[in-house]
Symmetry: C2
Subunit: 350 residues, 2 copies
């Protein structure tokens, strides 16, 4: 029997394995697994993408015979049902694993405790809840898709220390520094989709791509455009891009671009969920973000605060609130210096 | 001979001693001293207020005979001139101290290296620069007064994660949490003066006092009021309060209140310096702070960022800038979570 501290250390390794799949597994969750025999890690694995083997199976293959009487650390409850692959709970039992430590339960109604029950019924010692908060955070997109049918929405912005995301004039420099901008590229690489408003497209004509990362891939670009303002020449209009329009808007998209006709933001997010988009990185502008906020559709905020005072400029939000009591509170997950900027990450309280 | 690490540890103790005098010593600096014999601290002292003994003298008295052949750690270069007290360099030599470690030189033209020279000439081993950045930060008010004839100005504010210091409506809740507000009381206790604009006085009628601290004292209240708008009933108008008016404004203050007739902000700060105000805590509002900023008169920023999204409200600054290139950069000194809020402290680059 290992101590709680040892369990935590091994679960950290399993979370690091899972991290390798983040942004590639949708609609499946990113999952990691390590197999520990005595004090030795004898197997590691992660789920690389939907349709490929689950983390447990990869780790069990890696461990081979040494999985017998070993402990398996898994970031998500092993599945108990036949999906595209056989149940992982069965694979763990068949390999002779004697103990399974799980970070978080699987909210999928087809699993939802049945994976744990199956393991226990086979005499496997089961523990759940080790680094649960970290795991559910890593699986936020999957969990949102399974329980709410819509993506986990992250509002990302950078502002000065006096709360401005851009100056009032044109052709301005960047708010945040190079390390912060590199971090954003990692987030884009890990998000299923990246959203902006049509006004931002008209104003900045952004590419909405992942740049400068080895092995990086572009998220699907999503343009919220109720009025059909996105010009055919917009750089963000590439195959796979989604334009969220309305049922009554006259808008014809170039070939390869998907047009969603949505009755408001909640409907739009449900339709994006139907396209297996589990995480949506919302990058602005303020009007679109405020519409998300007032609809209660922002789940997480990642805000860079740059150490500079501007004096005037555009704000991160533009909602018509009058009272501090109307403010929406966040639980802060982390505060970190990224280059010269301060990154504050938190989840909106529900 | 002690290692650099040991020197740093003892200097931290000396800085902690000095901290006890912060806000009480003006126009003198806060200074701390510890005397170390072998590995034992045999004497401690700090300068409690102008006219009372300097830190070195207090620590030497505490050490007595054990100061002989000891090392003295002093946060500021020992004085070499006869002021209200005899020179500390002489006292250290007379006590037989064999080594003196100094954090920062004294910019006062009457000292400015002569204290160190005097010690060296007497055969004392002298070292300077241990925790110099921390020491100069602690002495910022004194150093500003000596080198520029005006106080060190700290702009303090609290804003939401979307950059709002208050909601647009009246009668609103506080932006920051109780721990942040308690921290502000510590700052008020350590500042020589606390400044607001007349508009803030009219709107909020603040007391501008230090509340809830054992042994706390109120800073001098300073009201910037070019138009003579401060009503006689304002709570901040108490004996010692300063109203900064103009030469042409018709304003009569209640008894005990000082009226400065200043030709603009730089002149006002010089006049405040003449009143021995070495640190000025600027608490708003945005218009006054912007006037300070655009005149290049903000030295330090202490900004609380509260984890909440408001959507609309008042900004921390209201200056007419158009370009991000006009932003004034800060060197970040610290990033810290204070309760639920994030405190960012930095110095504006000159």
């Amino acid at each position: 029997m290992k101590s709680r501290e040892q369990d935590t250390e091994y679960m950290k390794l399993a979370l690091a394995e899972a991290q390798k799949g983040v942004g590639r597994t949708s609609p499946n969750p990113p999952v990691g697994c390590v197999i520990v025999q005595g004090a030795e890690v004898v197997g590691r694995g992660f789920h690389p993408r939907a349709g490929e083997p689950h983390a447990e199976v990869v780790a069990l293959r890696d461990a081979g015979e040494r999985a017998r009487e070993a402990t398996a650390y898994v970031t998500l409850e092993p599945c108990s049902h036949y999906g595209r692959t056989p149940p992982c709970a069965d694979a763990l039992i068949a390999a002779g694993v004697s103990r399974v430590v799980v970070a978080a339960g699987d909210p999928n109604p087809q699993v939802n405790g049945q994976g744990l029950a199956k393991l226990r019924a086979a005499g496997v010692d089961v523990e759940i809840g080790v680094l649960e908060a970290e795991a559910t955070r890593q699986q936020a997109g999957f969990r949102s898709l399974v329980t709410r049918g819509r993506p986990h929405v992250i509002y990302k912005y950078a502002m000065t220390l006096d709360g401005k995301t851009a100056a009032l004039g044109q052709g301005n420099g960047s708010v945040s520094g190079p390390q912060a901008r590199e971090r954003v590229m990692h987030w884009r690489n890990q998000a299923d989709a990246l959203a902006v408003g049509a006004h931002t497209v008209q104003l900045d004509n952004p590419q909405l791509t992942t740049r400068g990362l080895d092995g990086g891939r572009d998220p699907r670009a999503v343009i919220f455009d109720r009025e059909g303002r996105t010009p055919p020449s917009a750089l963000a209009l590439r195959p796979g891009t989604i334009v969220v329009s309305t049922p009554s808007t006259n808008y014809t998209a170039p070939a390869g671009v998907t047009v969603l006709r949505a009755e408001g933001l909640p409907d739009a997010l449900t339709q994006l969920g139907n396209l297996n988009i589990s995480t949506l990185l919302l990058e602005g502008g303020a009007t679109l973000a405020s519409a998300f906020l007032t609809s209660g559709l922002i789940d997480e905020v990642r805000a860079f605060v740059a150490p500079k005072l501007l004096g005037a400029g555009l704000p991160p939000l533009l909602a018509p609130t009058r009272s501090m009591h109307a403010a929406q509170d966040l639980d802060v997950w982390s505060v970190e210096q990224v280059g010269e900027d301060v990154l504050i990450v938190g989840r909106l309280r529900v």
